[in-house]
């Protein structure tokens, strides 16, 4: 009998069961973008019709790339650096680039989670702090910066970010954001402490809880007045498929939504037994990710419709009060229903006086058009909607916990994309236990991410998000697919898959891997560059003096990042 067990196989951690693995991959793919980017795109490009380019992109770009990553990780059983080094030392840089992107994205992604935590902590008050403007020192009036915009805007820009007017003005570290960031990293650490051993248990909650909350919101939202306005607005098809930006946005959305090219998917599948049906896994993860996006857009837009309806009614009521007072009409004689006819008759009888009142034009469409994506949706638009709902605290808490769990499960993928390659390269001395190394990773990331807690932090974050988490990923993915197909060899790869799953990849996979997906990636990449190059690089700034947006030009980081990634790839 030989005690010579295959030490690498014994030492390499593995998933407790298939469910853990699938939930982790789904959790990584399903993130904040499913909730706050997809519904916005859907609404911008005319709802139902946007689904066409979206599903086409999923079929021809998303799922093939996902299958490729899962298969290659499962076959070669190493993280991103090991995988690409095994295929060819010349493309080892792809792995390094993946690791860098994962690390940098993890930095700012967790800062967003810190903001979510801040709002979560503040949701346990009555009334919610973003519902009213605070008084000034004399207690004679509201703070003017708040009056000029709205309590929700003020709470976000001043009380949360304490944002400076421009990126050059650094401001100081905002202590409340620092401790929220520390909490966020502590929460990440506790789940990530032993790698997939602890992640696998954490995802049972973090990957499933968002669905529960979305369902609760769905039921609640559909009963709110004005919900149908929002839904109609979302799904009314506006067939503009001739516009190339629709296709570009659909392709980029699918790509970023599935969290490809981070190395995280490769890391997760490397802990699988080699005889595992990765083809089915890829299809499941891809389909569930897109289904979640569509499912999430329903309650989101119902609530946005409710908010638009509520704002519209407020606008009407304000005008009604104005004309009632101005023309001494009997109290409650002018109602929302007959407001229109009153205005018409007043226009005829007292035209000049009506003009002098400067009534605001109330249009439901305008309020519906105030859609948002990203942090604007979560921290401005949605928080405003929540204060109008009865039982605001409950909805606020649920919403922010949902956002946190969505982001947390994506963070696992980012961090595994860094940890697994480092472990595989044996850069971690054996004497350091894994808990200490993950702790060190979290500590280092936290320290660097303090930059985002400064007064100008939001500007830095936007830059990171726009330039780190976009073009480099496209480049990495393009090199991934071309190197697997043409350097590793599509025949060898297909044989590997046959060995792992028992089925030879059919014509769909062959066609997409060889031609369609690389071509789509190339087209998307070129189009992205072209679109970006036409507009000088700017960022939107908040100016408390004029309470307007000023644009400033920066060029540095964009060119730097392209240079940096090209360098690492061709290393």
């Amino acid at each position: 009998f030989s005690m010579d067990v295959d030490t690498t196989a014994e030492e390499r951690p593995k998933w407790d069961n298939k469910v853990q693995y699938l939930l982790t991959c789904i959790g990584f793919a399903v993130g904040l973008g499913n909730v706050w980017r997809f519904p916005y795109l859907c609404q911008t490009y005319g709802g139902g019709a946007f689904l066409i380019p979206y599903i086409i992109a999923l079929i021809f770009e998303g799922i093939p790339l996902l299958h490729l990553e899962l298969a290659i990780g499962q076959r070669l059983r190493t993280g991103s650096i090991g995988v690409w080094n095994s295929i060819s030392p010349y493309i080892g840089g792809v792995g390094l680039a993946s690791l860098t992107v994962s690390f940098l994205v993890g930095l700012y992604y967790n800062t967003i989670l810190a903001w979510v935590l801040w709002y979560f902590f503040n949701s346990f008050q009555q009334p919610l702090p973003w519902s009213e403007c605070p008084l000034n020192e004399n207690r004679t009036a509201y703070i003017p910066e708040c009056e000029k915009t709205s309590p929700v805007n003020y709470f976000w820009y001043r009380e949360t970010l304490n944002i400076t007017p421009a990126i050059e003005e650094n401001g100081t570290l905002q202590w409340w954001l620092v401790i929220c960031l520390a909490t966020a990293w502590a929460l990440v650490y506790i789940c990530f402490i032993r790698g997939i051993e602890t992640i696998g248990k954490a995802v049972y909650f973090t990957a499933t809880f968002p669905y529960l909350v979305l369902t609760i919101f769905l039921i609640r939202a559909l009963t709110l007045p004005g919900a149908t306005d929002g839904l109609v607005y979302l799904f009314t098809p506006d067939v503009m498929l001739k516009n190339p930006t629709v296709w570009l946005d659909a392709a980029t959305q699918i790509f970023f939504s599935l969290s490809l090219a981070f190395g995280g998917m490769i890391a997760f599948s490397s802990y699988n037994p080699q005889k595992n049906d990765c083809e089915r896994d890829a299809v499941i993860v891809g389909v569930i990710n897109s289904a979640t996006s569509i499912y999430a857009s329903i309650p989101i837009f119902s609530i946005l419709g409710f908010k638009a309806n509520s704002n519209y009614n407020d606008c009407l009521d304000k005008n009604i009060l104005t004309i009632t007072n101005a023309f001494n009409i009997g109290d409650q004689n002018v109602t929302r229903a007959n407001y229109g006819s009153w205005i018409e008759s007043l226009n005829v009888t007292n035209h000049k006086e009506l003009e002098s009142l400067n009534l605001q034009k109330c249009s439901l469409q305008t309020f519906l058009d105030e859609s948002a994506s990203g942090t604007g949706l979560a921290f401005i638009v949605f928080t405003e909607a929540v204060i109008k709902m009865p039982g605001s605290q409950v909805w606020a808490v649920l919403f922010f916990v949902m956002l946190f769990t969505l982001g947390l499960s994506s963070m696992f993928g980012n961090l595994e994309g860094v940890l697994t390659p480092l472990l595989d390269l044996h850069l971690v001395p054996k004497c350091i236990p894994k808990e200490a190394f993950t702790g060190l990773m979290c500590l280092v990331s936290f320290s660097i991410a303090l930059i985002f807690t400064m007064g100008s932090g939001n500007y830095w974050l936007e830059i990171f998000n726009s330039y780190v988490g976009s073009v480099p990923l496209l480049i990495i993915a393009f090199f991934e697919i071309t190197s697997v197909v043409y350097i590793y060899g599509i025949k060898r790869f297909s044989d590997d898959i046959k060995w792992m799953t028992g089925r030879y990849p059919n014509i769909y996979w062959q066609a997409t891997w060889r031609v369609i997906s690389p071509l789509m990636l190339l087209v998307v990449f070129v189009a992205y560059i072209v679109v970006q190059a036409q507009v000088p690089a700017t960022y939107d700034a908040w100016n408390p003096n004029n309470v307007c947006i000023s644009n400033t030009h920066i060029y540095l980081l964009y060119y730097y990042s392209i240079y940096f990634y090209s360098f690492t790839i061709f290393h």
């Binding site: 993130g31 904040l32 973008g33 706050w36 980017r37 916005y40 994205v105 992604y109 801040w118 902590f121 346990f124 008050q125 009213e132 403007c133 008084l135 207690r139 004679t140 009036a141 509201y142 009056e147 000029k148 915009t149 709205s150 401790i179 929220c180 909490t183 502590a186 650490y189 506790i190 402490i193 032993r194 980029t252 939504s257 969290s259 407020d314 304000k318 007072n325 023309f327 001494n328 009409i329 009997g330 109290d331 409650q332 305008t366 859609s371 948002a372 994506s373 990203g374 942090t375 604007g376 401005i380 638009v381 236990p433 808990e435 998000n465 988490g469 990923l473 939107d540 307007c548 947006i549």
Partner: protein, 246 residues
């Protein structure tokens, strides 16, 4: 991954002056007759007197229970204003006859003017204002209305002071969360260290024993073999055996 576009511009365009509702209580009326200064009445002969415009929104406040605004209500109103003057100036000669109501509209709105008792001279504007402010609550309650539904145009009502808790609530929640997380981290680390110590102890206890009891040899669990006092393999002889043999 996230790709988001800020929409700050659109938000701001929508929100200028959004708090005008709150300002209703603060701001004076922009004037239903242009050129009329705040609080001035143009009398029948065109000369100005001190006074205030009052505006009631009874239906808004009471809905179905709204009462009809008639002569009796007007009488009560004049009486409450007289009461306010008496209470503030401590001058008991103010009477219902001191208070005049004119320019009534359907709204319901009208102008009031208070004269010094037994004279035709109107009282000072700020005296009237202070008197009304000090008895505002009583005046509102007499008519089942509030500051918002019984407006004295030009007299600001005090802003409702926001409910400020004595301690920042969010720090409490933060403390709870960070406490739980710290305990969790310590628990996991300690359990990991303990498990490792136990493992090392097991290895030291029996080098020759199989580590895990789910290792199978020739289809038989090694733990079972152990119980059966299985086959002695000379290559893994006990140290004791080798000693005693000698």
């Amino acid at each position: 991954m996230i790709q988001y576009l800020p929409i700050f511009k659109k938000m701001l365009q929508k929100y200028p002056g959004r708090n005008r509702e709150r300002q209703n209580a603060l701001v004076t009326e922009t004037g239903d007759s242009p050129g009329m200064a705040k609080g001035m009445i143009t009398g029948a002969r065109g000369d100005t007197h001190d006074g205030y415009k009052v505006r009631l929104s009874i239906k808004t406040a009471l809905g179905k229970d709204a009462y009809q605004w008639n002569e009796d209500e007007k009488f009560l109103f004049r009486a409450t204003i007289a009461f306010a003057m008496r209470a503030y100036t401590k001058d008991e000669s103010y009477n219902v006859s001191s208070v005049l109501i004119c320019n009534e509209t359907q709204r319901v709105s009208f102008w009031i003017q208070v004269k010094r008792p037994n004279t035709a001279i109107p009282v000072q504007q700020d005296l009237l204002e202070k008197a009304i402010i000090s008895s505002r609550n009583r005046i509102n309650s007499a008519f089942l209305l509030s500051d918002k539904t019984l407006e004295f145009v030009g007299i600001t009502s005090t802003l409702p002071s926001p409910i400020e808790p004595s301690y920042p609530v969010w720090l409490v929640v933060f403390g709870v969360v960070i406490g739980i997380v710290t305990l969790g981290i310590i628990a996991i680390i300690v359990s990991g260290v303990l498990a490792k110590k136990r493992k090392i102890k097991e290895i030291e206890d029996g080098d020759e024993l199989e580590k895990e009891d789910n290792i199978v040899e020739n289809g038989i669990y090694c733990g079972v073999l152990e119980i059966k006092e299985g086959v002695n393999n000379g290559a893994f002889a006990h140290e004791d055996d080798s000693l005693t043999k000698l």
